[in-house]
């Protein structure tokens, strides 16, 4: 069996080009982050990371992320199921509406929530009267984080589920399987990688979101400061090493999720090979 681009010379040239460009373009910035973070040694890095405000920021960031993922997951699956398994008028519009968060600049995303739920907003006035504070507290941060991350899962699932078509599920229906069983037994195995990838993107963005969160957070040290906000403040304080220490933590969280994804993929590939 012969495939296009299989000639050794072509193959080597392309691999080399891809690796070289990626190293320059993607790996180098990553290396630079860790180089800066450890510029003054491990001890200084550790002092920065174990600082009480940094720990609080890590806690808040993880808390927000853990709450964001299930919400985006449920919504993403529901929407993908809806637009790929059924024909109905307005389907395309619905599919585009979900892209709004991609089209809105993050700062504006924060702003629109502030304009609605802030003290002068039309819902915010009522909330303020009832002493419910959403903005400048963790619920506000959670709300904008969900806003900016909600397209990822759906965006990953829709093209795949569209391409796969619904024949398998239809066959299951004919065999009399109930809805949840079909989803669990037929759909889920087919979409799990896209689903997982969607979750990873959601996780990454939720952990790292800066623009939208900065507008609604209030930036109270140790209370409503997420890790990216904390990082930016350290940078403002001429604490470059501290800022890059936080950056390294964020990069580390990212690397861990990516490693988890790679590990799961590998296990699945093995399962497929030896069922």
């Amino acid at each position: 069996m012969q495939r296009i681009g299989d000639a050794p010379a072509v193959r080597r040239a392309l691999i080399l080009a891809a690796v070289a460009l990626s190293a320059l373009f993607l790996l180098l910035p990553l290396v630079a982050i860790f180089a800066q973070a450890f510029a003054q040694g491990v001890a200084v890095f550790w002092t920065n990371v174990s600082n009480e405000y940094t720990v609080a920021a890590i806690g808040l960031t993880l808390f927000i992320t853990v709450l964001t993922i299930p919400v985006c997951l449920v919504f993403g699956v529901a929407l993908a199921w809806l637009v790929t398994r059924f024909q109905f008028p307005g389907r395309r519009v619905l599919q585009t509406l979900i892209d709004i968060p991609f089209a809105v600049s993050p700062v504006v995303a924060g702003l629109i929530y502030l304009l609605l739920y802030g003290r002068n907003g039309w819902l915010g006035g009522w909330l303020d009267g009832h002493d419910i504070q959403l903005m400048f507290a963790w619920p506000g941060i959670l709300m904008v984080t969900i806003f900016v991350t909600c397209p990822f899962v759906a965006r990953e699932l829709i093209p795949l589920m569209q391409a796969q078509g619904s024949r398998e599920e239809e066959a299951a229906v004919t065999l009399g399987a109930p809805g949840w069983t079909i989803f669990r037994r037929v759909t889920l195995p087919n979409i799990r990688w896209a689903l997982l990838y969607g979750v990873i993107l959601t996780n990454a963005r939720a952990v790292g979101e800066f623009g939208a969160v900065s507008v609604v957070s209030g930036a109270i040290r140790g209370q409503t400061n997420t890790l990216p906000l904390h990082l930016e403040q350290l940078y403002q304080d001429y604490n470059t090493v501290g800022a890059f220490a936080s950056a390294a933590l964020l990069a580390l969280i990212a690397l861990l999720t990516l490693a988890a994804k790679a590990g799961l993929e590998w296990r699945a590939a093995r399962q497929e090979a030896h069922p």
Binding site: V66, R119, G121, Q133, W138
Partner: protein, 336 residues
């Protein structure tokens, strides 16, 4: 798995801090100070002293939290419901915005001494070792081949002070001749190498990226930067004429009332005028009013003529509208 306890702990911590657990669980009263971006270290030094002072005089354990950000963004957050008890900003307009909305008393500038500004500063230059371009005053900045770095006046209060100082100098230098002032300002602005959005970005551009021949910022900042990055490599120049930069403070009354911290907030602001706090402030290179402290730090702060925004520009509202608003003079001067 390892996430689990951390998650739980943070959940509780956040629930507590968000006030969801109710005030009954709050062990101590807490004061929230909303401040400008570069004051983090300053208030990290002042707050523990205040807490100790309060404990000593009133026998009550209190906590002071800090919120920092761009001054305008900070004021906007309070307008939209951030429940800060006191504000300590670097621009009068940002407190005025709160006063216009009724969150701060109308006569807030009379509520405390010195226009409610416990400390002040001015705009100064940081040049590279040996001052190779011979920059001593503002008119040295409009020459050929001088690269200037200061933050964008559109996004930074710090940048606005620089712009106003240059204009104030030109106003004096050209005896109020509008055309010559504008010519000067045009060349001055054309010499800007990079417009960062904030003071810190400008510092990075100047120090770490080696851009420009002179960095313009608050005198306090310029001195702190020189301290931070080595006194051998940089020199501080305080021009003979510059602008008075006030750092206004106020109590956000509706919030303090709601949080039950009125006495605390009042005392906190008053404390900033105390000898102890003024000495800390002077240590951070801010100019202060307390006589004993002024004398002690006299060497640090060269005498210079400080123009007042009120005198040269007819007040902040006026300056903001004529110069910095959309389509204002700054926009016109940069138009091409």
């Amino acid at each position: 798995m390892a996430l689990h306890p951390l998650f739980q702990r943070s959940l509780i911590a956040i629930a507590l801090s968000a006030g969801l657990a109710g005030p009954a669980l709050a062990a101590e009263r807490e004061l929230l100070n909303s401040s400008y971006d570069i004051a983090r270290e300053l208030f990290s030094a002042i707050n523990p002293d205040f807490v100790a002072h309060w404990q000593e005089t009133r026998g009550e354990e209190v906590a002071v939290s800090q919120s920092h950000g761009g001054s305008s963004a900070q004021a906007r957050a309070i307008l939209q419901g951030l429940r800060a008890d006191v504000v300590t900003y670097n621009q009068v307009t940002d407190v005025q915005v709160l006063a216009d909305d009724g969150l701060v008393a109308d006569n807030w500038q009379q509520a405390f001494d010195n226009n409610a500004s416990p400390y002040y500063s001015t705009t100064a230059f940081l040049v590279r070792k040996g001052n190779p371009k011979g920059i001593e005053s503002w008119d040295d900045l409009s020459g050929e081949g001088v690269g200037i770095v200061f933050p964008n006046p559109k996004t930074s209060g710090n940048g606005r002070y620089t712009y106003l100082a240059a204009w104030g100098f030109a106003d004096q230098h050209f005896d109020g001749d509008e055309e010559q002032i504008q010519d000067f300002m045009r060349t001055f602005l054309r010499n800007v190498t990079v417009f960062d959005t904030g003071g810190r970005g400008a510092t990075t551009s100047f120090i770490e990226r080696g851009l420009g021949d002179v960095l313009i910022s608050f005198e306090s900042e310029v001195n702190n930067i020189r301290g931070e990055y080595g006194s051998d490599d940089y020199e501080v120049i305080v021009p003979p004429v510059s602008i008075l930069a006030e750092f206004p403070v106020a109590v956000v009354e509706p919030n303090a009332e709601r949080n039950g911290t009125q006495d605390l907030a009042q005392a906190y602001v008053e404390y900033l005028y105390s000898e102890e706090a003024q000495r800390t402030l002077a240590g951070f290179n801010y100019r202060v009013h307390h006589e004993a402290v002024v004398e002690e730090f006299a060497d640090l702060f060269p005498e210079t003529e400080l123009l007042r925004v009120e005198d040269v520009f007819g007040g902040w509202d006026q300056a903001m509208e004529t110069h910095f608003g959309s389509g204002g003079l700054l926009d016109q001067l940069q138009r091409r």
